[in-house]
């Protein structure tokens, strides 16, 4: 079978090209590892804040975990920030706090902003607490006086009632005695209830997570999208460049001087490079799950299936795009045009929040469907029924591109 002859050739060529093999199989692991460590350590960011003549009480409440405070003897914020490479400078004039941000790093600006704000809120709370404490003391003394008064009163009523009961019992009037006994009970009850002080309710939060856990990081939420992206990127590049090589070295034209069908060549490519894409997917997925202990909610087979479809789309797209390139360099030029934009629509930025024309663009990007399906499977445990539409669209991309490729080869042979 001619297709298998092409497949065998693709395998042999790939296996002999050790550099390309390493790129395809090891580069994703390397980048994943890098990303894992990068996104794990993003909480230790520290901003530096210069302070001049600010009330000690304010300085004390600024969170020092994310902001380091330096005291300076100048009110010239601009100069001090430049001189000491600070992220912000805080000064005070009468009751007014003035903060100047360097803003060369927006993350640090927001760090200072946040800790200053929470500090000031804390400060306000403190003064509020002292005020209420005073009020409470006053209230309590009043209450004590009141209690004494009511206690004396009840005591009087109780003795009065008791003597009345004794009198009634002496008279043998049982009915009145019982009535009075009831009144007595009521009177003593009111005293005991008034001693019960109101207990303040304090709220505590206990968190539950539907997907993932409290340890979930940035890395975990984007991992599925990146898995899809790597497969897409490498398969696109390798298949595109290898078909381009066939074109420029004349072997494609030579192949077409044999009775091979154009579709047999394309199928040979799909099977041959698809095989390597499967190996790459399995390697990357197994690596991330076992080494980084990523929690995979859905089925691993669905992850493989989605990735395989994505790889086949990348394969056909690479072959298709390579017809518009005349050299490897020109092929590389298509990466920022065709591949890189796809990552923006892979879920890094929520597509629902995009402008409507951007959403329209998202819907022509294969990676949008692939990454969405991957994320759904990995983080939410979506089943085949949930991602079926996405997978069908990927199949659609593949079929259309394959057709275009087969027709496109008519350039080299008319039948």
């Amino acid at each position: 079978m001619r297709t298998m002859a092409i497949v065998r050739r693709v395998f042999k060529q790939m296996l002999r090209d050790k550099r390309t093999l390493a790129l395809m199989f090891l580069a994703p692991l390397l980048i994943m590892t890098l990303m894992y460590f990068l996104f794990q350590n993003n909480t230790t960011q520290v901003a530096s804040l210069g302070v001049h003549h600010v009330d000690q009480s304010v300085v004390n409440v600024i969170d020092t975990k994310n902001v380091t405070i330096h005291h300076y003897d100048s009110s010239q914020a601009r100069k001090m920030i430049k001189q000491h490479d600070l992220d912000g400078y805080l000064t005070q004039k009468n009751g007014q706090l003035m903060i100047t941000y360097s803003n060369s790093n927006p993350t640090n600006t927001s760090l200072i902003k946040a800790s200053l704000q929470s500090g000031l809120v804390k400060l306000k709370m403190k003064t509020l607490v002292t005020v209420t404490k005073k009020q409470r003391a006053a209230l309590e003394s009043q209450q004590a006086a009141l209690k004494k008064l009511t206690a004396a009163q009840t005591q009087a009523t109780v003795t009065k009632l008791k003597t009345a009961i004794a009198q009634a019992q002496a008279r043998g009037d049982q009915a009145t005695a019982e009535k009075l006994q009831k009144q007595l009970k009521q009177a003593t009850a009111t005293t005991s209830s008034s001693t019960q002080s109101a207990k303040a309710t304090s709220y505590t939060t206990k968190s539950h997570y539907i997907y993932g856990s409290s340890d979930s990081t940035f890395f975990e939420s984007f991992l599925p999208a990146f898995l899809g992206f790597f497969v897409f990127f490498f398969v696109f590049l390798i298949s595109g460049v290898s078909l381009l090589n066939e074109r420029t070295t004349g072997t494609l034209s030579r192949l077409l001087a044999t009775p091979i069908r154009r579709s047999e060549i394309i199928m040979g490519y799909l099977i041959g490079y698809g095989g390597f894409a499967i190996i790459q997917t399995v390697l990357t997925v197994v690596f991330t799950i076992t080494v980084f202990k990523i929690h995979l909610v859905g089925s691993i087979w669905l992850v493989f299936l989605t990735n395989l479809l994505l790889a086949l789309v990348a394969l056909t797209l690479g072959i298709f795009i390579s017809t518009f390139a005349n050299s490897e360099f020109q092929m590389i030029q298509f990466i920022p045009l065709i591949v890189v934009p796809q990552i923006f629509f892979a879920g890094l930025v929520p597509v629902d929040g995009m402008a409507s024309w951007l959403q329209a663009i998202a819907h022509i990007m294969p990676l949008y469907y692939g990454a969405n399906a991957m994320t759904a499977v990995v983080t939410k445990g979506a089943g085949l029924g949930d991602i079926g539409v996405n997978l069908l669209i990927l199949v659609g991309f593949m079929v259309v591109l394959t057709m275009l490729n087969i027709v496109g080869m008519k350039r080299y042979r008319k039948v």
């Binding site: 002859a5 042999k12 060529q13 070295t249 034209s253 030579r254 192949l255 001087a257 009775p259 039948v415």
Partner: protein, 247 residues
Amino acid sequence: MATDYVIAKQVSKHFGHQQVLNQIDLTLPAGMIYGLIGPSGAGKTTLIKSILGMEAVDSGTVKVMDTVMPNRAVMAQVGYMAQSDALYETLTARENLTLFGQLMSVPKIKLAQMIDYAAGLVDLTSQLDKRVSGYSGGMKRRLSLAIALIQDPQLLILDEPTVGIDPELRQQIWTELNKLKDTGKSMLVTTHVMDEAERCDYLMLIRHGIALAEGTPAALKQQYAVDTIEQVFLKAGRMQDANDGNR
């Protein structure tokens, strides 16, 4: 007639404004070495690709083995050697031969035997398991020729087959081509080496897409009253330029 392997009639072709082939007639019977000579850019390769059905013609018809081209199935009966060595450099010569043998539908049991035969013909038997990337230009050319012979075709179309091959081996190859011819095979060969042209049974001179002259080498020399094919070519060329000037 069944004995004519190639019949091209009134073949014309242009790329953009440039007329590459202008009403070319060509008939290649069985058992003949047919030479196409002409300067580069004359249209030799385009004519060959039109005959193979890889290039669509604007007008005219091409029949190979009594089948109107383009036709995919007929390609199995044609051995083709391209002008540039289209070889898979990371594979060995044997792997290249195996691949094309499979594509040409050579039966599995016959394949090893055919590889030995084709490699022996171009003197590459000892180098078969070396990767093509380590081959010299001449070796690559010989491997290309071996690939054209892999399915033992009746018709061979060879585009500049002896470029970069040393004289001794060229001699050898021509001896082989003549042997193949004696078994009833036909060859369509392009060349611009004039002493090779003398070895052909029949010649066509192409210049600017026009068939200037054709005939056996002897007849051509007689017609133009010169001693060598080279002189025939130069004379025919000058006459063509003069005619163009008169227009």
